[in-house]
C-alpha cells in the first residue's frame, strides 16, 4: 500500500513537468479571462465604459430584446449556411485529395493553404477592390452584357457569405481530408465485396468512418463563422450587423462591456454545446446514418 502511494507520487513529478507549463499558460490566459468575461456579464455598465461592480441581469434581459435576438438568429443562420456550403464543397474535394498519391495530395493541400498565409486584411481589401461598383467584377459583367448597371456587391449579405465561405473552406477541408485519408481502401473493398453499391458503401461505411473529420470541420467553421467580425465588418461595411460586430461595438464605441460580455458568453455556450454533442457522438461511435 505504502509502496503504491510512493510510486504514485514519484510518477507525478514528470507529469507536472509535462503538463504544468501548458496548464499554467491556459489558466492564466484562457481560463481566468474567460471567467472574468462571465463575471462582468452579470455586472452593471459604467457610465463612461468600464464596469461597475453591482450585480444585475440587465445585460441578459437586453439580449432577449428583438433587435439582438434577430442579430443572433441571423448570425446563426449565416454560420449554418457557411458551414453547410463548406462541408458540401469541402467533402468531395477532401475525398479527391485523399485518394491521390501522397506527393500530389501534399501539393494540392499546399495550394489550399497558400491563401491562408496572406494577411487576412489584405485579402479582404482585395475582395473589396474586386467587388466595388467600378471594380473588375462589375466591369466584366457589364462588358459581357450580363448586367445593365453595376451591381452593388459591397456591404451585402451575399458578399459577406461568399467571404465567409472562401475564408473557412480550408479549415473544413483539412480535418475531413485527414479523416478520409485514414479510411482504409480495404473497408470500401469489404463493403463492395459484401454486395454494397458505391452509394450504399458511402452512406454506411465512408460517411460514418469519416464523421470525426466532418464534425471537426463543423466546429472549425461554424464557431469562427459565428464569432467573426473582420469579414462581416469589412465586406458588410458595418451596415449588416452580426453578433461579432455587436460584441466589438459594445467593447468599443458603445462602451457597454457587460452586454458585450453577455453576448460573448452566449457564443461560448453555443460552442460548448457543440463540443458536448461531439464528445457524445465520439463516445457512442455506432451512430446510425441510414
Amino acid at each position: 500500500m505504502s509502496r503504491g502511494t510512493k510510486k504514485a507520487s514519484h510518477s507525478r513529478l514528470p507529469m507536472i513537468a509535462q503538463a504544468g507549463p501548458v496548464s499554467l499558460w491556459m489558466i492564466l490566459f484562457v481560463t481566468i479571462p474567460m471567467l472574468f468575461i462571465i463575471f462582468i456579464s452579470f455586472m452593471t455598465r459604467g457610465t463612461f465604459g468600464g464596469v461597475e461592480y453591482t450585480p444585475t441581469l440587465t445585460s441578459y434581459k437586453t439580449l432577449a430584446d428583438v433587435i439582438y435576438l434577430n442579430v443572433i438568429l441571423k448570425s446563426l443562420r449565416v454560420a449554418v449556411v457557411t458551414t453547410a456550403v463548406c462541408l458540401l464543397l469541402g467533402y468531395p474535394f477532401a475525398y479527391y485529395i485523399a485518394r491521390k498519391p501522397a506527393d500530389v495530395a501534399s501539393r494540392l493541400i499546399m495550394l489550399l493553404m497558400i491563401p491562408l498565409w496572406t494577411n487576412s486584411l489584405m485579402r479582404l481589401n482585395a475582395w473589396m477592390l474586386l467587388f466595388q461598383t467600378n471594380g473588375p467584377v462589375n466591369k466584366a459583367l457589364l462588358a459581357l452584357g450580363l448586367v445593365e448597371k453595376p451591381v452593388m456587391f459591397l456591404y451585402t449579405d451575399g458578399l459577406v457569405l461568399l467571404g465567409l465561405i472562401t475564408n473557412f473552406l480550408p479549415f473544413a477541408v483539412l480535418p475531413m481530408y485527414s479523416s478520409i485519408e485514414k479510411l482504409q481502401n480495404a473497408m470500401l473493398e469489404a463493403s463492395a465485396d459484401l454486395g454494397a453499391k458505391p452509394s450504399t458503401t458511402f452512406l454506411r461505411v465512408t460517411l460514418p468512418l469519416t464523421f470525426p473529420g466532418i464534425f471537426s470541420a463543423v466546429i472549425l467553421t461554424f464557431i469562427p463563422a459565428l464569432g467573426t467580425y473582420t469579414i462581416t465588418d469589412m465586406l458588410g461595411g458595418g451596415k449588416v450587423l452580426y453578433i461579432g460586430n455587436i460584441i466589438k461595438n459594445q467593447f468599443g464605441t458603445i462602451r457597454n462591456w457587460p452586454l458585450g460580455a453577455a453576448l460573448s458568453v452566449l457564443l461560448l455556450l453555443i460552442t460548448a454545446l457543440l463540443i458536448f454533442i461531439y464528445s457524445r457522438f465520439a463516445s457512442i461511435e455506432d451512430m446510425e446514418v441510414m
Binding site: 482504409q184 480495404a186 473497408m187 473493398e189 469489404a190 463493403s191 463492395a192 465485396d193 459484401l194 454486395g195 454494397a196 453499391k197 450504399t200 454506411r204 461505411v205 460514418p208 468512418l209 461511435e285 455506432d286 451512430m287
Partner: protein, 361 residues
C-alpha cells in the same frame, strides 16, 4: 468444364510495365480447397483480387459458375472475401458486421437475426454480438470476418492470407478449423498464402506460383513427392538438390554423375548426357560406411540439429554443398567429422529437367 466453379483463361495482369500475372490458366473445382502458394510478389494475391473484382484483368477470361465476370463490379459477384487484415467495420458491432451483407440485400430482420446467430455459432463467437472489433483479439476478429463472408452463402470464398497476423499456435488451430469448416459447408475455398506448411495442411490442391506463373498444380502429396521443377522442390518442404548429368539409363533407373560422384534415381523421359537436378527429401536420404548400390558420393558429418520430433544431420559434400537428412532417433554410430557415403532408394528421389523451371506446368 462442368465441375469447375471458377475458370481463369489466358489471364494477364500488367501494372504499368510490370507483368504480374502471365497468361494464367486455372480451373478451380466445385467444393475444393485450392491454395495459391508462392513467395511475395508472385501474383497470387493479384489473382485472388481479380476473381473478387478488385483488380481488372489486363486480358483474358474469368468465369464464376460459368458466367463471365470481368466486366462485373465486386458487389455484383457471388464470391466473398476474407481479407488479410480482417477489414471489419470498426464503427459497427460484431452483429452489425456479420449482418452487413444480408441487410444490404434487404433480407427481413428476423431472418437476418437467425442467420447471424447461426453464423456466429458456426465460428464459435456466440455471445460477442455487441462487441466492437477493437475489443476482439486477432483470432476472434478473424472468426467474425469469416462469419461476415459466409453469411452471404457464397459459392466461392476467397481468403487472402487470413491467418498471417496470428501467432503460430493460433494459426495452426485456425488452419484445422478452417479446413473442417470448408468440409462441413462444402464451399469452394480459394486460399492465398506464402506459408508452404499452411498450404500442405489445408489444401486439396496447391497451385505453386512464381513470377506470375503457375509452376505446378496438384495435391499436396503429389507436389511433395513429385515436384516438377527445381523451384517447387525447393519451396515445398525441405529438399536436397544435386545437380548432375545423366550418365546411363536402364529402364527407368538412371545413373547421374554429379561433381562429387555417382547417384541413382528413377524417372522417365530423360536422355543420356542431359543436365538435370535430383531432389531427395531429408527423410529418404541415408548414409553408410562404404559406397553402396552404386552410389559413390562421399560426405562429412557437420552437425546435428534437434528439432523436437526429429534430429536433422547436416552433411558437407566435397564440393562444399550442404545436405541434410532427418531421423526420429539419433544414430549412436554417427559423430561430427565422420565420413560416410550417401545412398537412397532411387524411387524416392525425383529427377527434374532443368528447363522445367521456365515452362508452365
Amino acid at each position: 468444364m462442368s465441375d469447375s466453379i471458377v475458370s481463369i483463361q489466358h489471364v494477364d495482369k500488367w501494372y504499368g510495365n510490370n507483368h504480374v500475372v502471365k497468361d494464367m490458366n486455372l480451373e478451380i473445382r466445385e467444393g475444393e480447397f485450392l491454395t495459391l502458394l508462392g513467395p511475395s510478389g508472385c501474383g497470387k494475391t493479384t489473382t485472388l483480387r481479380m476473381i473478387a473484382g478488385f483488380e481488372d484483368a489486363s486480358s483474358g477470361i474469368i468465369e464464376v459458375q460459368g458466367e463471365r465476370v470481368e466486366e462485373k463490379e465486386p458487389y455484383q459477384r457471388d464470391v466473398n472475401t476474407v481479407f488479410q487484415n480482417y477489414s471489419l467495420f470498426p464503427h459497427m458491432s460484431v452483429y452489425d458486421n456479420v449482418a452487413y451483407g444480408p441487410s444490404i440485400k434487404k433480407v427481413p430482420k428476423d431472418e437476418i437475426r437467425r442467420r447471424v446467430e447461426e453464423m456466429l455459432a458456426l465460428v464459435q463467437m456466440s455471445g460477442y454480438e455487441k462487441r466492437k472489433p477493437d475489443a476482439l483479439s486477432g483470432g476472434q476478429k478473424q472468426r467474425v470476418a469469416i462469419a461476415r463472408a459466409l453469411i452471404n452463402n457464397p459459392r466461392v470464398l476467397l481468403l487472402d492470407e487470413p491467418l498471417g497476423a496470428l501467432d503460430l499456435k493460433l494459426r495452426k488451430q485456425m488452419q484445422i478449423e478452417l479446413k473442417r469448416l470448408q468440409k462441413k459447408l462444402g464451399i469452394t475455398f480459394v486460399y492465398v498464402t506464402h506459408d508452404q506448411e499452411e498450404a500442405m495442411t489445408m489444401s486439396d490442391r496447391i497451385a505453386v506460383m512464381r513470377d506470375g506463373i503457375i509452376l505446378q498444380i496438384d495435391s499436396p502429396l503429389e507436389i511433395y513427392d513429385h515436384p516438377n521443377c527445381r523451384f517447387v522442390a525447393d519451396f515445398i518442404g525441405e529438399s536436397n538438390i544435386l545437380d548432375g548429368k545423366v550418365h546411363s539409363i536402364s529402364g527407368n533407373l538412371m545413373q547421374v554423375e554429379t561433381p562429387c560422384g555417382i547417384i541413382k534415381t528413377c524417372g522417365e523421359g530423360f536422355t543420356v548426357g542431359e543436365t538435370i537436378c535430383v531432389s531427395i527429401r531429408p527423410e529418404y536420404l541415408s548414409v553408410t560406411h562404404e559406397p553402396k548400390d552404386g552410389f559413390t558420393v562421399r560426405a562429412r558429418v557437420k552437425d546435428f540439429i534437434y528439432m523436437g520430433t526429429v534430429i536433422k544431420t547436416s552433411l558437407d559434400l566435397d564440393s562444399g554443398q550442404e545436405l541434410k537428412f532427418s531421423r526420429f532417433e539419433t544414430d549412436p554410430d554417427l559423430h561430427e567429422g565422420d565420413e560416410r557415403y550417401l545412398y537412397w532408394d532411387p524411387a524416392k528421389s525425383v529427377p527434374i529437367h532443368l528447363e522445367a523451371s521456365e515452362v508452365q506446368a
